[in-house]
C-alpha cells in the first residue's frame, strides 16, 4: 500500500490549516485513497496504474485545495448564533448593526438607492417643515409670542379676512383703558422718515411706538438700549432705536454710530440702541417713541393718522373672550362716531404674523401634504426594494430560523437594517434640505413672511427630521420584515428559490406597492399640472399696460411745503422736464398710482343721468405723458394735452368699464362726471365735476392678493383719470419710460429730483414689470415651482420603483424565461410579457391616482385660476401620458434584459 500522506500534505500546503485539522484531513483522505487503491487492485489493475488513478482523485480540476479553502478558512461567525439569547441586548444590537453594515457593503447598490430615495423624501419634508416652522409656527422671537394678538373691526358684509386694523389715538386709549382681556396694549403708527444724507434726503421706514412697547416684546437691544419710559416724558431728549438690517445696509454695521445725533424729519434725534437681527417689528427701519394723543392728527400722505394695536392676552383668557370684550368696547365707541364703523360689525382678534403669512398658509400646507406624499413614495420604494431583497434572502432567513433564531430576533435584525438606512437617509436629507432651503428662500414671494422670521434649520426642525428617521423605518421596514419571517420557513429551502414556484408568491405585495406609488405620483403631477395651467392662464390676463422698460418710484414730498396743487405742480414741472431730457428716457410723468394698485374710491354722478347712490369709481391723477408711457390704448376721444395739465382744467379720461357700467350705448365724450368725494377728502374742490374727453382700455386696478386686493382675478372697476394739477390727493409717483434698462436711470432720476428739491426722497424705486411680477406672479410661481420640483422628484422615485420591481421579478424568473426560450418562445413575446406585466400595474395605479386626484381636486381649486377646473382634461391627459411614457421606459430595461436571457445560462445557474 503506497503512503499517501506526503502527496496529500503537498496539496494542502497552500492552505493555512492548523496542525490538528491538517492531520485529520490527511488521515481521512489517505484512508479514502487506500480504499480506492484496494478496489482498483482487486479489479485487476497493476500497482502503478492503481496508484496513479487513486492520486487522480485528488487532482480533479484542482478542486481539492480550492474547495477546502472555501470551507476551511476561518470565516467570521454570523451573529445569528442560536443562543445569543437575551444575554446582553446591547451587545446583540451591536451585532445586528455590524451585520447590517456588512450586508450593505456586500450590496452597495441597493443601499445607495435606498438611502438616496429616503434622503429625497426626508430632505424635502425637512425643508418644507423648516419653512412652516419658521413662518407659521414660531416666526417671532418675542416673549411668549403666542399670546400676542391684534384686533380688527370686521363688518358683517366683509370677506372673512377683511376689516379695519388701524385705530385713532382716541380708540387706542379707550381700548387700553377699558379692556379686561389684555395684560397690556401697545400702539404702532407709520412714520416715514426723511433722513438727511449727502446731496439730498433718503427715506427710511420709521415706526412710532407707544410707551411700554419694548417691555411688551421683551427683547433687549443688541447694542445700547431699548426705549424707556423716560423717553416719553415731555421735554425728554429725542431718541430712536435702529434695526440691525438697516444698521448694516446704511451704516455698514459701524458701532460708532451709537449715541450720535441724526436729523430725522427735521428733528435731531440720538441713536440710543441697535436691535438684534431678528427684531423687526412692523418691518420698520427704526423705532421712535411717541405717545398717541387725543385730537385728529394727519398721518402719512395727508391721510388721518392710524395706530396698529397689539394686545398681550392675560393668562387664561381665550381669543374668543377677548373678541367679545373688545366688541363691547367698540360698539360703545361706534355709538359716538358711527361714521367710522360698519353698520354691523364685531371685533376679531388674530395672532400676529397671521396678517403677513396668512396668504402663504394654504400654499405651504398644500406643499407639506405633497412632500408627505413624496416621503410616502420613497418609503414604498424602499419597502419594495427590501421586499425584493427579503425574497432573495429567504434562504438565509430560513436557515437562521432552522438554526434557532427566533422570529422576534429576525424582525429586529431587519428593523435595525431599516433604521440604519433611514438614519443615513436623514443625514443626507438634512444636507438636501439645507440646499433646498436656500433655493426656496430666494424664490419666495416678497413680503410673504414676517420680517422677524429667519428660515433655516433649527432645533425643532432637526428634531422633526430625527423623528422621521425613526418613524419611516416602521413604515417601510416592518412589512418586509414581518413578511420575511411569517411564511413557512422550510418553503424556500425546498424550492431553492427558483422562479417557477418561488418568485411569484411575494409578488402581490410588491405589485400593490407599485400601484400605490403610481397613484400618489399621478396625484402630485396632476397638482403640478393644474398649477402650471393656472399660472399660464394668469399670465394670459391682460394688465392693460406694457410694464416693460418703465422705471417707477414714489416720491415723498415734505407735507409742510407741499400743501396745495400749485406747490406740487411747481415741484413736478422742472423734474419732469429734467428727467425727460436724460439720454435714454422716452417720457416721464406724474401719477398718483401705478398698476395694479387700487386708487382712492369716490362716488360718481353723471350729468343728465341718474346713477343711484352706489355708483363708484377709482380716481387716479396723472400728467400728460402717462398713457403714452403705460402704452394704454386710447379707445375714444383723446388723452390730456399739456395745456390741460398745466392749467389744471377739469377734464377726465375714463376706462372702458366705466362706459359699459354707467354709459352703456351712449356717447361718453363731452359728458360731465362729478367725483363727489373729492369735495370732502383732502381736496377742497368746490365743484369736482370733470368733462370726459377720452376713453382708454381697462387697466388692472384691483391690487394684489395678499396686499389687501383681489388681484387679476377680481373684475376691473370703473376708473377716472384727472390732471394731477387739479387735485391735491395723497401719493405721488414718478414713472419714466426708458429705451434700455430702467433701473440704470435710478441715479440720474434721483439727481433730477434733488435738483428740484433736495428734501424729497425716492420710495420703493423699481422697474414696473419687476414690481408687478413680484406682486402678482411671485406667489403662484412659488407654489408652481415647489410643485414642479416635488412632482419631478416623485416621478423619478416612481421610475426607480417600477424599474426595481420589474427588474427584480424578471431576475427571479430568469430560469422560467430560460426554459420558455429553450422550448422555442420568441424574444418579442418575452419582451411583451414583461412590459405587459409592468403596464398592468401602471394602469391600475393611474386608475387609482385619477380617482384620488378628482377627489382632491376640490382642495386645490382655491389655488387655481377660475378658468382652470380641477378636472381639467388637458392636464389630466398630459399627466397620464407622461406617467405612462415614463413607466414604459422603466419596464423596457428589465424586459430587454429578460429577452436576452441565454437559455443555457438560465438553466444552469444553480
Amino acid at each position: 500500500m503506497p503512503d499517501w500522506k506526503e502527496e496529500i500534505a503537498a496539496r494542502l500546503s497552500s492552505l493555512k490549516l492548523d496542525a490538528t485539522r491538517k492531520s485529520e484531513i490527511v488521515e481521512e483522505l489517505s484512508q479514502h485513497l487506500d480504499d480506492r487503491y484496494a478496489d482498483l487492485i482487486a479489479g485487476g489493475a497493476a500497482g502503478d496504474e492503481a496508484r496513479r488513478e487513486a492520486l487522480g482523485e485528488l487532482d480533479q480540476d484542482n478542486l481539492l485545495a480550492q474547495g477546502l479553502h472555501e470551507v476551511e478558512r476561518s470565516a467570521p461567525r454570523e451573529p445569528d448564533a442560536p443562543r445569543a439569547g437575551r444575554r446582553n441586548v446591547f451587545a446583540s444590537l451591536r451585532q445586528d448593526l455590524r451585520y447590517a453594515l456588512r450586508q450593505f457593503r456586500r450590496n452597495p447598490g441597493f443601499a445607495l438607492v435606498a438611502i438616496f430615495t429616503l434622503a429625497l423624501g426626508i430632505g424635502a419634508s425637512t425643508a418644507i417643515f423648516s419653512v412652516i416652522d419658521n413662518v407659521l409656527l414660531e416666526p417671532f422671537p418675542y416673549r411668549d409670542a403666542r399670546h400676542i394678538v391684534y384686533p380688527r373691526i370686521h363688518g358683517s358684509t366683509q370677506a372673512a379676512d377683511e376689516g379695519r386694523q388701524g385705530y385713532s389715538a382716541e380708540e387706542y386709549l379707550e381700548i387700553a383703558r377699558q379692556n379686561q382681556s389684555f395684560e397690556s396694549v401697545i400702539a404702532t403708527a407709520d412714520d416715514p422718515v426723511l433722513y438727511k444724507h449727502g446731496a439730498g434726503v433718503e427715506w427710511l421706514y420709521g415706526a412710532d411706538m407707544s410707551q411700554g412697547s419694548f417691555e411688551f416684546f421683551g427683547m433687549p437691544a443688541l447694542y445700547g438700549r431699548v426705549l424707556q419710559p423716560a423717553d416719553y416724558d415731555p421735554g425728554a431728549p429725542a431718541v430712536f432705536v435702529l434695526r440691525y438690517k438697516t444698521w448694516m445696509s446704511h451704516f455698514n454695521g459701524d458701532p460708532n454710530v451709537l449715541n450720535k445725533v441724526y436729523v430725522l424729519n427735521g428733528t435731531a434725534r440720538t441713536l440710543v440702541g441697535i436691535m438684534p437681527p431678528r427684531f423687526g417689528w412692523y418691518d420698520a427701519d427704526l423705532w421712535i417713541p411717541r405717545t398717541p394723543h387725543l385730537g385728529l392728527t394727519t398721518g402719512f400722505a395727508g391721510m388721518p393718522e392710524r395706530w396698529f394695536l397689539l394686545g398681550r392676552l392675560k393668562h387664561g383668557v381665550s381669543m374668543t373672550q377677548a373678541e367679545s370684550d373688545l366688541t363691547g368696547i367698540a360698539r360703545r365707541m361706534a355709538g359716538a362716531r358711527p361714521q367710522d364703523y360698519p353698520p354691523q360689525f364685531q371685533v376679531v382678534v388674530a395672532q400676529i404674523g397671521h396678517s403677513v403669512s396668512g396668504q402663504l398658509e394654504p400654499a405651504l400646507y398644500t406643499v407639506l401634504a405633497a412632500v408627505g406624499f413624496l416621503l410616502l413614495i420613497g418609503c414604498v420604494n424602499v419597502a419594495n426594494l427590501l421586499l425584493a431583497r427579503a425574497t432573495s434572502r429567504e434562504k438565509e432567513f430560513a436557515l437562521r430560523a432552522v438554526l434557532g433564531a427566533g422570529q422576534a430576533r429576525l424582525v429586529r435584525l431587519l428593523l435595525v437594517e431599516s433604521l440604519l438606512l433611514a438614519v443615513a437617509g436623514a443625514l443626507l436629507g438634512v444636507l438636501i434640505a439645507w440646499g433646498g432651503l436656500k433655493l426656496i428662500v430666494v424664490s419666495m414671494p416678497p413680503d410673504s413672511i414676517p420680517a422677524e422670521s429667519v428660515i433655516g434649520l433649527n432645533a425643532q426642525v432637526l428634531a422633526f427630521t430625527l423623528a422621521l428617521a425613526f418613524i419611516t423605518p416602521l413604515i417601510f421596514g416592518l412589512a418586509p420584515a414581518l413578511q420575511a419571517v411569517r411564511r413557512d420557513l422550510i418553503d424556500p429551502l425546498r424550492d431553492a428559490g427558483r422562479g417557477i414556484i418561488g418568485g411569484l408568491r411575494t409578488g402581490r405585495l410588491r405589485d400593490a406597492a407599485v400601484v400605490i406609488e403610481v397613484a400618489v405620483s399621478l396625484t402630485l403631477l396632476v397638482g403640478a399640472g393644474l398649477l402650471m395651467h393656472s399660472f399660464l392662464a394668469l399670465r394670459q390676463v391682460s394688465l392693460g399696460v406694457q410694464p416693460d422698460h418703465i422705471f417707477k418710484t414714489m416720491l415723498l414730498l415734505p407735507p409742510d411745503r407741499y400743501k396745495t396743487p400749485e406747490q406740487v405742480s411747481r415741484f413736478f414741472a422742472p423734474v419732469l422736464a429734467k428727467v425727460s431730457s436724460i439720454p435714454g428716457v422716452l417720457d416721464a410723468a406724474e401719477s398718483s398710482s401705478v398698476p395694479p394698485n387700487i386708487s382712492p374710491d369716490t362716488r360718481v354722478e353723471l350729468s343728465g343721468k341718474s346713477l343711484g347712490k352706489d355708483a363708484h369709481a377709482q380716481v387716479q391723477d396723472i400728467s400728460e405723458a402717462y398713457f403714452r408711457i403705460m402704452r394704454t390704448p386710447l379707445e375714444m376721444g383723446r388723452a390730456f394735452t399739456p395745456a390741460e395739465i398745466h392749467d389744471a382744467r377739469r377734464v377726465a379720461v375714463v376706462n372702458r368699464r366705466f362706459v359699459t357700467t354707467y354709459l352703456a350705448g351712449e356717447d361718453p365724450i363731452g359728458r360731465r362726471v362729478t367725483l363727489t368725494d373729492l369735495k370732502n377728502v383732502g381736496d377742497s374742490l368746490r365743484d369736482p365735476s370733470f368733462e370726459i374727453v377720452g376713453v382708454v382700455g381697462d387697466v388692472a386696478n384691483q391690487g394684489a392678493p395678499g396686499y389687501g386686493g383681489g388681484g387679476l382675478q377680481a373684475a376691473i372697476q370703473p376708473q377716472v383719470w384727472v390732471p394731477f394739477t387739479a387735485t391735491e390727493s395723497g401719493l405721488r409717483y414718478l414713472v419714466v419710460r426708458a429705451q434700455q434698462s430702467p433701473m440704470a436711470l435710478m441715479n440720474e432720476v434721483q439727481q433730477a429730483v434733488w435738483a428740484s428739491d433736495p428734501g424729497v426722497a425716492l420710495m420703493y424705486p423699481d422697474a414696473l414689470d419687476h414690481a408687478i411680477s413680484q406682486r402678482l406672479y411671485a406667489g403662484p410661481r412659488f407654489a408652481l415651482l415647489l410643485m414642479i420640483i416635488f412632482g419631478s422628484v416623485g416621478l423619478v422615485l416612481v421610475t426607480v420603483g417600477i424599474y426595481g420591481v420589474l427588474a427584480y421579478s424578471t431576475a427571479q424568473t430568469t430560469h422560467e424565461i430560460g426554459v420558455r426560450m429553450a422550448l422555442g418562445a420568441e424574444r418579442a413575446s418575452v419582451l411583451r410579457l414583461v412590459i405587459l406585466k409592468g403596464l398592468r400595474l401602471i394602469l391600475a395605479g393611474v386608475a387609482v391616482g385619477l380617482a384620488v386626484s378628482l377627489l382632491l381636486g376640490r382642495a386645490v381649486a382655491s389655488q387655481l385660476w377660475p378658468v382652470v377646473k380641477p378636472y381639467d382634461p388637458v392636464t389630466l391627459a398630459a399627466t397620464i401620458l407622461l406617467l405612462l411614457a415614463t413607466g414604459v421606459l422603466a419596464c423596457w430595461i428589465p424586459a430587454r434584459r429578460a429577452s436576452q436571457v441565454d437559455p443555457m445560462e438560465a438553466l444552469r445557474c444553480e
Binding site: L58, I490, L493, D495, I501
Partner: protein, 111 residues
Amino acid sequence: MTVEVEWKKGSAELLILSLVETRARHGYEISKLIEQRSGGAIRFYAASLYPLLYRLEKRGWIQGRWVEKSGQRRRRYYGLTSPGQKILAAQRRGWQAFVEAVNRITEAEHA
C-alpha cells in the same frame, strides 16, 4: 448519458444527505454508493467530495465522528443531524416539484 457538472453540483447536497439519512457512512462508502446507484453516471472524486462533506458538516446538517472498530484503523463516519433532516425533506420536495414542473412544461409543448 453523462450528467453535466453543474447539475451534479446543485444536487450533490441532496444526494449526500439522502445517503447518510438511514445510517452513518464514511466518505469512501458515500462515493461508491453514488457511483453504483447512478449506474456510473455520477461520480464524485475525493477532491470534490470531501470539501462538500466538510461544508455540510460546518452547516450542521451532517456530523462526522471518528469511530474505532476493533482491529481496524479509525474511520470518520458521517450521520444526518436533525436540522439536516429538515433540509433533506425540504430539498426532496423542492427537487420533486422541480422535476414535475419541468415535466409539465415539456409535456405541454409536446401536446
